[in-house]
Symmetry: C2
Subunit: 343 residues, 2 copies
């Protein structure tokens, strides 16, 4: 059988587990030109709330009763697609299910994980969307320079847990992270490469930013948005770059309740730049990104912080955790493993 | 004698003519390594209000009693500087005066106008800051593409009057401009290369934008900021680019009265970019920009709209006009002319 999570209802005030329904479908039959994937890992990310609300135009429409969208890592167990041969480990739009029939015409395209010396789960962390997001965000969008004064919000999350390590690997001298609570803040420094942490639950954030950045901020890698972004806008230096990776503080709010920005004019005054991005717009270079990140891992510059839970049943809870603020690292669900897969 | 405008008092609610005082100083003596310039033209621009408030860190500090800052075009009438030979026409930080002693160590550096077949006044319009701003803003910052849906605000102003023409010369198919009043809107279409005009004084601007851009905006070249920028933020397409050239609606307001942006989150949702810039950060390529714009003029693709007034006495009024909203084209003051200059 092929267990699948389908969308049962739209979220109201954030994702909740009862938005999803677990069903058992048949394992799909192989079709001409396609490959049958057995899912090993599935990832969750804040953006999935927007899938559930069907408000993105860069993802397939998601109707009620549809298979929940999401990327995963799996192994090809049967194939009539030359570019997806049996045995290959691929990262693809699998959806929340144990088996998927895919082809190489998916947009964004599936890609084969080419670093067999590294754990397959890394295909959803450092060698997958969150690692690519950190690298593209800091290097291509943020145009990171070694002497930049760098601040990262959502620093203990999937992308944030890699941002300081990737920034250092790219030459940055100092990176400060913002996260909520002493546990996360300790992890920032102990396992995620940050030089200092700001605890937004217990500190006066603007005052702490001023203390850490007396001359202002050159590069802000933002996962949070809202008031925090506004506070940073007031503290940017000339030609600063604000990389909009996410705005988790805003996704749950109706438009009328979203923050109204008081300091946006400072972007103009500082000749600064603010830019959001979608990694799948940059994937013509995915091999180079993947090789670069794999090298960082092998050189000990990047240690993915993966928070694994076991079994496809744990997927809705994993996604809800992201919005409960109690997630550390890249949240991944193990659906099956090498031991379960007989090609 | 050397007439000079000096800053007498700081502006309160915008620039006013009584902020300046006209004095007569001596013509400076030539000094080693320097060149004596006789001023032909001086330009005014909205940013000068920020000089008067002494709130920029990219310009020299401007104290009360100091010579007013500003760029101009003049001819070298005496020189001990090999790169600024007698007879050369230069664009430089002359300040509001009839004669200036400069050297080639000024930052940003003076540059020699190399297109002697074109009027010297163009060195303050299309071959000077406003032309460079249009070209750099649309090409380097805006990454203009031929099929972009392009909107320009402040479209009848110094930069705006060139933006549509430069955009077309770069391949754009359609450009819409926003300006105030029927005279300006007629000029947009008749002499500035716009395909359509939105009159913010008589139209419901958001509704007009929706009518002209049913699929949203790809490239917004903004000289206005504030509410208009917020309205456009709500109407951008995926991967839109917002080029912040100026924010004239905000310069006069104290921070507490500036617009608070409701739609900034849409930048993230659309994977879009907003960027401000200062042309003098891009001047390593000034020869290429200058040659490109001169070619546009010669090919009939760009006709500078210059609004000339006669005599150094008209400078304060020219600057105030920019804030009275009754300026069309590039505002330039003729201080002297070829006929008055005997090298």
């Amino acid at each position: 059988m092929n267990k699948q999570w389908r969308l049962k209802k739209r979220p109201v005030a954030g994702p909740s587990e009862d938005c999803f329904e677990l069903v058992e479908a048949d394992i799909p039959e192989l079709e001409p030109g396609k490959a049958l994937i057995k899912t090993w890992y599935l990832g969750v990310a804040p953006v999935m709330l927007r899938y559930m609300q069907n408000e993105t135009d860069f993802e397939s429409a998601l109707g009620l009763g549809d298979l929940m969208l999401g990327r995963g890592v799996g192994q090809v167990v049967a194939s009539d697609c030359p570019t997806l041969p049996v045995g290959a480990l691929v990262q693809a739009r699998i959806g929340w299910q144990e088996y998927a029939l895919i082809d190489d015409q998916q947009v964004p395209a599936p890609f084969i994980l080419r670093h067999g010396d590294l754990p397959a789960s890394h295909g959803l962390s450092s060698l997958g969307p969150s690692g690519f997001t950190a690298l593209i965000g800091l290097r291509e969008i943020g145009q990171l320079k070694p002497n930049d004064a760098i601040l990262v919000s959502g620093a203990a999350g999937g992308v944030g847990s890699q941002a300081a390590q990737v920034a250092k690997a790219l030459g940055a001298k100092r990176v400060v992270g913002i996260a909520g609570g002493p546990t996360k803040c300790a992890e920032l420094i102990n396992s995620m490469g940050y030089d200092a942490a700001i605890d937004y639950q217990s500190e006066d954030v603007p005052a702490s930013i001023d203390a850490h950045f007396p001359e202002g901020i050159d590069l802000f890698f933002d996962n949070v948005g809202g008031v925090l972004l506004d506070d940073v806008l007031a503290r940017i230096r000339r030609r600063a770059r604000i990389v909009i990776c996410g705005s988790i503080s805003e996704y749950l709010l109706p438009p009328s309740e979203r923050h109204r920005f008081a300091n946006l004019q400072n972007l103009g005054r500082q000749d600064a730049r603010m830019e959001a991005f979608f990694i799948f717009d940059y994937l013509e270079n995915h091999r180079e990104y993947s090789d670069c990140l794999a090298d960082f891992i092998r050189e000990g510059l990047l240690t993915p912080v993966e928070h694994l839970s076991e079994g496809i049943e744990t997927l809705p809870g994993a996604l809800c955790d992201l919005y409960r603020g109690n997630n550390i690292g890249v949240r991944i669900v193990r659906v099956a493993s090498e031991a379960d897969t007989h090609v």
